[in-house]
């Protein structure tokens, strides 16, 4: 699924100006930076944090949808949801592997997630309360993720860019699948349509928050843009998402829960776009800082899986050791 419109590039660095200039020239020439290339420490730290947060978002993101797998309303929907949540686990796996190329282990990253040091997308701290949430997550959350991730396919760091190409293909499938769930519900019974509206009411604003703070409040975005880790600003991407999504909501016959939403000819450099009401940034920061409805439960669930699984991982290691030892003994005999 997706990582938050990333909070904070790390510009601190100890390299010489000549080194930094040479690095910037490579970036400006659109050369891909590969794991073994020399890179500023700030660039490395920013990527470790961003890719790590992205991976954690995929893994924690399995929980809100996993919440409905055993209650999916048909065998076909159950299979599709299982496959979708499995894709998210797969995305987490390539992203952890991409971060590992920068010199951090999956175990370290997992520990940072479980201790609360590493963040993940705040959208997953909202609960999934009805089946339509499975539609709305695909449509809105994966939709927002795609807006953020398509530019990441051109990110300056090669392994991240390549992982994103595959991830984006799968996300766009998820987005269509989510919209199709919404469409089915909106054409169904009055209760089903009500479920769909309820899901949109609860997830619309959190989806807009996924793009991160307004540009004026996004302190480190500039460095990330310069390094071509990021290509568009938070507000540009958010606007693109709103412009694409509002007509889709209209087609469903649903009401976007923003009384200030209106068409404005002056937006997008005169091409027009949807102006929106104020985003509740207090809520955003409250959830990012750990006080959303589900923050504690999400980490608790991840921690439980990790702790309950400790004996399994230990058994696998021990067995591998025993095998290796027997092999050495056989060779010696």
């Amino acid at each position: 699924m997706y990582s938050q419109g990333l909070i904070g590039a790390d510009g601190r660095t100890e390299e010489s100006e000549a080194f930094l200039d040479a690095f910037q020239k490579r970036i400006d020439a659109e050369e891909k930076i590969e794991p073994k290339d020399a890179m500023p420490e700030g660039y490395r730290r920013t990527l470790i944090r961003q890719i790590g947060q992205h991976a954690h978002s995929e893994i924690v993101g399995m929980l809100p949808e996993g919440n409905w797998i055993t209650r999916a309303p048909s065998l076909k929907r159950k299979a599709a949801l299982l496959a979708k949540v499995q894709d998210e686990g797969g995305h987490g796996l390539y992203l952890y592997a991409a971060a590992e190329t920068l010199g951090v282990s999956r175990e370290q990253m997992t520990e940072e997630l479980l201790s609360g040091k590493a963040k993940y997308s705040s959208i997953f701290n909202y609960p999934t309360l009805n089946w339509a949430d499975m539609g709305a997550i695909g449509w809105l959350v994966d939709g927002a993720a795609i807006m953020n991730q398509i530019p990441l396919c051109r990110c300056s760091f090669g392994p991240y860019a390549r992982a994103m190409i595959r991830v984006c293909k799968e996300e766009s499938f998820h987005q269509r699948q989510g919209y199709e769930i919404m469409l089915t519900l909106c054409r169904g019974t009055a209760e089903q349509k009500q479920m769909a509206q309820d899901a949109l009411d609860r997830l619309w604003w959190p989806a807009l928050m996924m793009f991160g703070p307004h540009d004026a409040d996004s302190a480190h975005s500039e460095q990330s843009m310069k390094w071509k880790i990021k290509r568009f600003s938070n507000d540009q991407l958010r606007q693109k998402f709103i412009d694409a999504t509002v007509p889709q909501a209209e087609y469903l016959g649903l009401t976007v829960p923003d009384p200030d939403l209106r068409w404005d000819d002056s937006l997008n450099g005169g091409k027009g776009g949807y102006a929106h009401g104020d985003i509740d940034w207090d809520e955003f920061w409250r959830v990012v800082k750990g006080d959303g409805v589900m923050n504690r439960d999400r980490i608790k669930a991840r921690k439980k899986a990790w702790d309950d699984g400790a004996w399994v991982r230990e058994a696998a290691l021990k067995h591998a050791e025993k095998r290796a030892m027997r092999k050495t003994q056989e060779a010696a005999e």
Binding site: I59, M62, L63, G66, I69, T70, R71, A72, P73, S74, L75, K76, R77, K78, A79, L82, A83, V85, Q86, G89, G90, G92, L93, Y96, W131, T184, L185, G188, T189, E191, Q192, A301, K304, A305, D308, G309, A310, W311, V312, R313, E314, A315, A316, K318, H319, K322
Partner: protein, 251 residues
């Protein structure tokens, strides 16, 4: 009579796959390592695919306009015909993997033999499932070996799983009246024939895992008559909730 027997036997088989798929799906997002979240989900997906094929075929054989979902979501505990093994709770990773191995080691020769069924749809389902189930044996078998020949704790947990689960394996080889009829008609394999192959698959795995199957304990049987343990009702209550709360809605 022939159609009724085929319908009932298909439902038994479909219920086995549907229920075990559901159990595996309960792990999704909660497995010991990320690779297992993917692997358990993969097996759940294989099995739900097989269940769908079997339910659809059953619905066609019945010819009363019921759908795969009507069969899966609108029957209660006493109408479910799965064997008891597949409804056993996940408990821990050792129980989950041993249950999978017991079941897959049975289904592999079953599907192998069903490749020559006189029913074309069954041959098709067998062709797809036989490849999948070979992977399930490999995956579950490797874990059983790692756990049995791993740490003291993993070995103890695997032994506990064996104590809990082996009593449910005998039922795999029992043919209901419907299944017996279908075996004689060449539609489905004879369950009673498969014990030897099942043991041939398990013996080398258990040897490496330093695991023994207890003998002389009376088996638990009853699923094919709709006589289940208490866990199945809870599973169905969860699985069927939306279909029951919104009768007739399409999803």
């Amino acid at each position: 009579m022939a159609d009724q027997a085929l319908l009932n036997a298909l439902i038994e088989l479909a219920d086995d796959h549907n229920i075990l798929s559901h159990r595996l799906a309960e792990w999704c997002g909660h497995a010991p390592i990320l690779e297992e979240d993917l692997a358990l989900t993969n097996m759940a997906l294989d099995m739900i695919g097989t269940a769908r094929g079997l339910y659809s075929h059953a619905a066609d054989v019945e010819g009363r306009g019921r759908s795969e979902d009507d069969l899966a979501y609108l029957r209660v505990e006493r109408e479910y015909r799965n064997c008891l093994l597949v409804e056993r709770p996940n408990d821990d990773f050792a129980h989950t993997m041993l249950r999978q191995l017991f079941f897959a080691a049975f289904m592999e020769p079953y599907w192998q033999s069903a490749l020559t069924s006189s029913d074309e749809t069954i041959r098709g389902i067998a062709g797809k499932s036989v490849k999948e189930v070979a992977y399930h044996i490999r995956h579950a078998g490797e874990w059983v070996i790692r756990m049995g020949d791993g740490t003291q704790e993993s070995a103890a947990r695997l032994h506990a799983a064996m104590q809990d689960l082996h009593i449910y394996t005998e039922e795999l080889f029992h043919a209901s009246e419907a299944a017996g009829h279908c075996a004689r008609a060449g539609l489905l394999p004879d369950r009673t024939d498969l014990r030897e192959t099942w043991l041939e698959t398990l013996t080398p795995i258990f040897a490496e895992a330093r695991l023994e199957m207890p003998e002389g304990v009376p088996p638990q049987i009853g699923g094919r008559d709709g006589l289940h343990g208490e866990d199945l009702g809870h599973l169905l209550a969860e699985m069927q909730y939306l279909q029951r709360a919104h009768p007739g809605a399409s999803w």
